[in-house]
Assembly symmetry: C2
């Protein structure tokens, strides 16, 4: 297929085509840019593209006449909207016309499109949505402050098989995106001892202990999440969702608690005013959703899900992440590691 190509669902963003087209235009001007196929309303995309600087040789438009909105039920959307941009974009990836999918559409619809168009890799029973969050610890060649947590909500009740697969997939992703040679992988539990946690965690712990291809550091606790003890945190989608939403609220909480302390002692107000820019910086650091996109892992093609309120910069970053992961063979790496896992143990499903 020649040049690396990203299929971008241009209609998924809450702001309409402006953010996606602007983001793609910015990406097209960067060094080593991939080809980008903008999928969606050809007229709206073309109109917007005409107004922003871009590299024409890198961008093409692929028309799709329908859009899945936040109001649509993801399950029913594709029956009533077969020409939805997210579905058309996923099909371009399936057919080989593009190498990876990027969308800022609603998570349910994006996941359903992947499930409809892609195949799960051998040995992967259920897919995972990764998410990144900032930690104290820096890592990798770029001094990256982010940890990856998965699953963030796709697989609520993850069994031991699923948790092992998430560990493998998260490690493969972290290796490529954070450029950490051997990312430290951990299970989130209620204690660090190997026997702590529900049965699925205990079994996954025992199996991960035996893997030499992963840097499994054992169980971590809630306290370790903000500390960044692990580069890859493995948990069920139910716990992952709760943890991530708590982290999302951390800076707000702190400002509110600080206000309580401040109300009690008015003289600290001067300090708060001086600190306001730092609090803003902190707030940005904890707003994990603005960092490009997060991967949907476990399919035979990569999808990077950008946030629905993505800025052009976030779209550009999501395209960059999808390109990097594809160039470094993420899906092939996961397939190889999951094959090794399948050879190691009979599935216990």
């Amino acid at each position: 297929m020649g040049e690396l190509t990203i299929a971008l669902d241009a209609m998924g963003c809450d702001q309409g085509v402006a953010a996606t087209v602007d983001g793609a235009a910015e990406a097209s001007l960067t060094e080593g840019a991939p080809r980008i196929v903008l999928v969606g309303d050809a007229r709206a995309i073309g109109d917007r593209l005409a107004r922003v600087a871009h590299e024409p040789s890198k961008l093409t438009i692929h028309h799709a006449s329908q859009v899945v909105t936040m109001e649509d039920s993801p399950r029913r959307a594709f029956a009533s909207k077969p020409d939805a941009s997210i579905l058309v974009a996923a099909k371009l990836v399936r057919s080989g016309a593009a190498d990876a999918l990027v969308s800022a559409g609603n998570t349910g619809a994006v996941t359903m499109a992947c499930a409809a168009c892609f195949e799960r890799l051998p040995g992967v029973r259920r897919c995972a949505l990764g998410a990144v969050y900032p930690t104290e610890r820096r890592r990798g060649e770029k001094d990256d402050p982010f940890s990856l947590i998965l699953d963030a909500g796709l697989t609520l009740d993850a069994g031991a098989d699923d948790l092992v697969a998430f560990a493998v997939m998260g490690s493969a992703y972290s290796t490529r995106i954070s450029r950490t040679d051997r990312p430290r992988v951990a299970l989130l539990s209620n204690g660090t001892e190997a026997h702590k946690g529900p049965p699925a965690i205990v079994e996954a712990h025992a199996r991960l202990r035996q893997r030499t291809d992963l840097e499994f550091i054992g169980n971590i606790e809630g306290l370790d999440i903000p500390r960044g003890t692990a580069d890859v945190v493995v948990t069920s989608g139910f716990v992952g969702n709760i943890v991530l939403k708590m982290l999302e609220g951390v800076s707000d909480t702190v400002r509110r608690l600080a206000r309580y302390a401040i109300d009690k002692k008015l003289r600290y107000r001067a300090g708060v005013a001086l600190l306001a820019p730092a609090v803003r910086a902190l707030r940005q650091a904890t707003d994990w959703e603005q960092y490009g996109g997060v991967p949907i892992l476990g399919f035979d093609h990569l999808c990077i899900k950008a946030h629905g309120r993505s800025s052009p910069r976030a779209i550009r970053n999501a395209i960059k992440v999808a390109t990097k992961a594809t160039r470094t063979g993420l899906v092939e790496g996961i397939a190889t590691a999951m094959g090794a896992e399948a050879a190691r143990s009979e599935p216990t499903s």
Copy 2:
């Protein structure tokens, strides 16, 4: 039995008898103090007591020759240490010589002592450990900033029956301790909709919806925890443990992230110095463990578990909480409400 009596395990604290005896001595001097039986090494307790101001008519010493330490396995400790202070104290409560148990001992040992000496209330399959954490929202007549979360770690895999029981018990506790007439009770899930979450959550949601004796506000998400959307947050012990340990680390994390922001812009340092007292206040507010004690709920007798690093003030507060809960009929209230629950639905176990 006359005057209300608290059995205090005087040996459970990491600091030895000093904190427990000093806390009991302080409590004995407060208005409306209960009788307190100090259980443990009579000589060590007596020696310490002689050195601090106290009200002799309120304090008695009950000798116990052994101590369960952090190094003991809770499961085996009672076979080898039948005269352990926590076990002797629990037996005083069982026999009616005392009305409630307070201990700063290791959680496993305290729980095992309760299980060995007390009976579960009819309809309660598994007990819960409550924990309090600070939120933005204030509540009750004392403008209380705390929410109660349960289970904090006793019942890792909670079924629908367990979650309903936790809601009932948490509401009864919150009503009495925070003096909130109808505490808002919520299930922690990955979305506010009734169908969101694993099966146990969905079923518990449907059953709690039908109760008129509880102010069930539905599901809350991770973001709502720091906000304080609910007065009583119901979840499995596995999730509760992770959430509480994350909250415990919130202030540390924030200081670390703020430091990162500050390193980048040195001029904010002045603001940080000015704000230091507010940060300290915030830190205290988020150190939920220092707030007296947390209840073990579901037995026919009340146990308040104080933190192992408790100060005399924390012990005094734990005694106060145990006294208040006993005076206001907590256990009887839970028994009545659980009886109503049993009449409403056949147990699904």
